[in-house]
């Protein structure tokens, strides 16, 4: 994960055309690829006035969708932060058979299409699934219901905390922890007082990425939830349904809110990157 971007001036370019050409090419590309679409979204959302925009946001099903998205994202963050810390610790500080395999496995959610992620859960918990019998007996519903959506959201956002904390753990090294041990601190005390303060920015950055990914999840939820409006419909699922039903203003409005939230997430990411760089 890169440090703050430093300016490294090039040696004097002999050809004076290179700089303006490259600059316009790159800036033009970025404008075309990123800024224009984002701008168009905002423009379109407000094309019928701010009042109608906010009216859409006050719809009951929209509010519920936002609430559900937020709830699932926070849940995913909590679960993946705790387990992610443990896994990162074990992968960096422990040595055991199969460690390399586990380390590679952590990248699996990056390699799995969201649709496939949702599908895997259906295979496990659906009507013909492996676990169906026990679930029936226990009266627990996973697929087409909140638990399934929670698992799907946790799945797709699983690697971030692990991948952000691991390099920081590597970097800070063992010596401070060993020093704490010689001074009589047990594992838990060492972790809280010595290790944690050093990894907190990396952890926070990982959490930010986890939240962003969870909030934006669509494909897996689409498959696993059944998208019942007012019950299992998240913000992204709502947008899709709105597009499908040609409720364009509604779709744009919710999209704009999601995009705005992701701006804030982006700002948090950049601020945290700087902090991490300062630490190391």
């Amino acid at each position: 994960m890169p440090a703050e971007i430093q300016l490294v001036k090039p040696i004097i370019q002999r050809n004076p055309w290179v700089r303006p050409c490259l600059l316009s090419l790159v800036l033009g590309y970025i404008a075309f690829l990123i800024f224009v679409p984002v701008g168009t979204l905002f423009f379109s959302a407000f094309s019928e006035g701010a009042v109608s925009f906010f009216k859409v946001l006050c719809r009951w099903d929209v509010l519920h969708a936002f609430g559900l998205t937020f709830f699932l994202s926070v849940l995913a963050v909590l679960v993946n932060a705790v387990f992610g810390l443990i896994i990162a610790w074990v992968l960096v500080r422990h040595d055991f058979l199969g460690k390399k395999f586990l380390n590679a496995l952590v990248d699996l959610p990056f390699a799995v299409s969201p649709v496939v992620a949702g599908y895997m859960l259906i295979l496990l918990f659906g009507r013909t699934g492996w676990c169906h019998a026990w679930l029936q007996a226990a009266g627990i519903k996973i697929v087409f219901s909140l638990p399934g959506m929670a698992i799907a959201t946790a799945f797709v956002s699983l690697p971030f905390v692990i991948r952000e904390v691991m390099p920081v753990l590597q970097e800070i090294g063992l010596e401070e922890e060993q020093a704490a041990h010689t001074l009589g601190a047990n594992g838990w005390q060492t972790f809280w007082r010595v290790t944690f303060p050093s990894i907190r920015w990396g952890l926070l950055y990982g959490i930010t990425l986890t939240f962003a990914r969870a909030m934006g999840e669509f494909g897996a939820l689409f498959v696993v939830s059944g998208a019942v409006s007012g019950e299992t419909e998240t913000a992204t699922l709502f947008v899709f349904r709105a597009m499908d039903e040609r409720m364009y203003q509604e779709a744009y409005a919710v999209s704009v809110v999601l995009a705005a939230v992701s701006f804030f997430v982006l700002l948090a990411m950049e601020a945290l990157k700087k902090r991490i760089h300062e630490e190391i």
């Binding site: 020093a179 704490a180 041990h181 010689t182 001074l183 009589g184 601190a185 007082r193 303060p197 050093s198």
Partner: protein
């Protein structure tokens, strides 16, 4: 009963880093583990602390068998080469850490930390963070931190390795002072013989995972038991020669032989300290035995490089006064008389300690 180490062995794969090492450190002694890089001395230290586990052997701390004890329970203070100060805590919190974790009463903690800050002369720095301190200051904090919870044993792993020469010297005095104050049984690892000679009560010379010799600074310097020890402690000249008629004949010099040591060997080498050589102007009865090749000023004295009649090189250290008396010049013939030499069987070329 301080520290007792018996038959300590540690292997890393095929490589034996520590090979059946045994030694004892008396209660209250300050002992140096001295050896070249890779000799295993750090590994020995870390095993005493618990940072490494021995494959064979036992460790006793103040009479108790500590071989299987976890680090936390050993009561060992450890000072790292790179300080390992807690970056996110200030000086006061660093020093107090061990006391807090071991649940000393609050007032005791305050008193103890203040006492240590005074001792390492960092009273005004209690709110500073490690990043705001110099290397020497950081190491003083590390020392204070290790001593705070009153450890039974203090271990230091090349504590001055990361510091400048001048700061190193100052800190040597700190160690000695703190040791005199607290009398904690201490072992420090170093590859710097001057350090070992200067501050330790006893030196354990380690090479290739084995103990070469144990003794006081004086014993080791004046009576090295092997050419390695002789060569490692202090500067030394290595002159090669043969055994002839029961004496070691090296160039024009003859040295007595320790028959027991050199049974059956015919190729020998004599290790001569540059300060153990007397030079004089050639005269009747004092035939020239060498020619001055180069004269260098060393600050505290003069270094004279001499080529002997048989082509070997000899380095001699003279005091400035003596040099003035002799009025030596480069290219001059000179009479040489070594006053002390240690003769050993000739070593393989790979171990060359000549200056």
């Amino acid at each position: 009963m301080g520290i007792s180490v018996k038959n300590l062995t540690k292997r890393f794969g095929e490589f034996t880093a520590v090979d059946h090492v045994s030694f004892e450190v008396k209660q209250g002694e300050l002992v140096a583990l001295l050896g070249p890089s890779g000799s295993g001395k750090s590994t020995i230290l870390r095993m005493i602390c618990g940072l490494e586990t021995p494959d064979e052997g036992e460790i006793f701390l103040t009479g108790e068998d500590a071989t299987a004890l976890p680090i936390q329970k050993r009561g060992v203070g450890f000072v790292f080469q790179h300080y390992a100060l807690f970056k996110h805590m200030n000086v006061w919190q660093n020093i107090a850490f061990g006391l807090e974790v071991q649940k000393f009463p609050q007032q005791d903690i305050k008193d103890r930390v203040d006492e240590l800050l005074r001792l390492v002369q960092l009273q005004g720095y209690s709110h500073h963070y490690p990043s705001q301190l110099s290397g020497g200051q950081r190491q003083r904090v590390a020392l204070a931190r290790a001593l705070a919870p009153k450890p039974k044993v203090l271990l230091l792993d090349e504590p001055f390795g990361a510091l400048d020469a001048k700061v190193r010297e100052e800190l040597r005095n700190w160690i000695r002072r703190l040791h005199d104050e607290f009398h904690v049984t201490s072992v420090f690892v170093t590859h710097d013989q001057n350090e070992a000679l200067e501050i330790s009560d006893k030196i354990v010379v380690v090479n290739q995972g084995r103990v070469e010799q144990i003794g006081t600074s004086q014993e080791i310097y004046e009576n090295p038991q092997s050419s390695f020890v002789a060569g490692f402690i202090g500067p030394v000249n290595v002159l090669r020669g043969k055994v002839e008629q029961g004496k070691a004949k090296i160039g024009q010099f003859e040295f007595a032989l320790d028959k027991n040591m050199l049974e059956g060997h015919s190729a020998v080498e004599a290790l001569i300290r540059p300060s153990d050589v007397v030079l004089a102007m050639p005269s009747e009865g004092k035939l020239p035995t060498g020619r001055v090749k180069r004269i260098s000023f060393l600050g505290w004295g003069i270094k004279v490089d001499i080529v002997l009649k048989d082509g070997q090189l000899l380095t001699v250290h003279l005091t400035k006064e003596r040099f003035q008396e002799l009025q030596l010049a480069e290219g001059q013939d000179v009479y040489i008389q070594p006053t002390d030499a240690k003769v050993f069987k000739q070593k393989v070329a790979s171990q060359d300690y000549s200056i």
